[in-house]
């Protein structure tokens, strides 16, 4: 591990320099495995935040208070520590310049992480595919990559669902069909849509897009979390 970057109070980016890394596609993830001194292990998957063209591999991790791996990665890990990785993994929720667009990315919370990889990749290769990011966050403080997002040459639309600063001119409501109708390209333009976020968020966003007439086969989803204690 090379460097740790604070993104928000609960989110850090972990900059890695893995030996024998053979590259990845934007949108893929890695498995991280931790091993205690007595041999006990825990592993979880994390999206890759860096573009294939970037010098280092970056994971952006949100601390889940009842989690096991994320609190360690966010609070305990120090530069110079070794981290066991496996990957890259996943070949479906990926975007390459050759995939084309228009590219609509819909993020809830830390669901924005794989989209940073896609948008950096798009910028790095000079893709002309139009791209638009609709990003839902509870508050401005919790927006990950806030400064960087303004400089990626992408149309970024923020919606702050819980708390808006004074003078906020962006959206201030949860993502629903009305908001998606306002932000998305019309279905006739056949945007390629990626939705990533908590389960309930993805469910609403993807279902709304289908109801608006978007082709379900052009909507890719990635979810985290549960439906509750059932």
């Amino acid at each position: 591990m090379v460097e740790l970057l604070d993104e928000t109070p609960r989110v850090r980016s972990i900059v890695l320099d893995p030996p024998d890394w053979h590259g990845h596609l934007a949108g893929q993830h890695v498995d991280v495995r931790l091993t205690a001194e007595d041999g006990y292990q825990a592993q979880r998957s994390y999206s890759i935040a860096s573009a294939p063209e970037d010098e280092h591999l970056v994971l952006t991790v949100e601390r889940l208070d009842d989690g096991e791996v994320s609190p360690y990665l966010v609070d305990e890990l120090r530069p110079g520590d070794e981290l066991e990785l496996r990957g890259p993994i996943g070949g479906y929720f990926v975007w390459e310049a050759s995939t084309g667009g228009p590219l609509l990315l819909v993020a809830g919370g830390s669901g924005v992480v794989p989209f940073r990889s896609m948008l950096r990749h798009r910028a790095a290769v000079g893709s002309s595919a139009p791209a638009r990011l609709l990003y839902s966050s509870r508050s401005l403080d919790e927006v990950i990559y806030r400064d960087e997002l303004e400089h990626l040459g992408t149309d970024v639309r923020l919606t702050l669902t819980r708390e808006q600063p004074d003078g906020w001119t962006g959206y201030g409501r949860r993502i629903d069909a009305d908001l998606l109708a306002e932000v998305a390209w019309p279905p006739e333009e056949r945007p390629l849509v990626y939705v990533c976020g908590p389960t309930a968020f993805v469910e609403v966003a993807a279902s709304s897009l289908v109801a608006l007439g978007h082709d379900a086969a052009r909507i890719k989803t990635e979810r985290f979390g549960a439906t509750g204690g059932r």
Partner: protein, 202 residues
Amino acid sequence: MSPISRGFRGRGRRDDVDPSRIPPGQYVTGDFPVLSAGPTPHTRLEDWTFAIRGAVDQPVSWTWDELRALPSETVTRDIHCVTKWSKLDTVWTGVSVDTLLADVETSAEHVTAWCDGGYTTNLPLEDVTGGRAWVAYGYDGEPLDPEHGGPARLLVPHLYFWKSAKWVRGLELREDDEPGFWETYGYHNYGDPWKEQRYAGD
């Protein structure tokens, strides 16, 4: 040999769970996480059928009402997702695949489950027979939620849970083995959690 993670003690250890029930690399959750590659399909029950086709003498299919009229079983099983969570003692109700195949003549050795939304997954025929697989429409005494694969999903609990295809609409019996959706995107072709067959090459 894995490097020791300095300062990692493992707060997720459970002393209330029999370790012999947890495959390598898995952790136990009380939640029911949701994973799927696309939007949740919503097929009307009056349009829903379940079909067995492919390398069979005579394709068969059931309407929703016909499937529900078949003898059902309620089984309690542990399930294991390739994304590392396991959930113990889940209770499912559905029709055994043995019941569905009872009158089917075939020399096929492979099965592809196909689903609303375009998802597919491949399995050896012997893994969906012999009381090891169900078409499940009930979970915990309730109708199966759409997010979890309702109205009906395949249940093959001895393999990683991506083999338990959500929104299943039929089984295609095949002479050859055709990789399904995740199997073509780098996941293991068979997916035995006890051998930790997560990804191609494991």
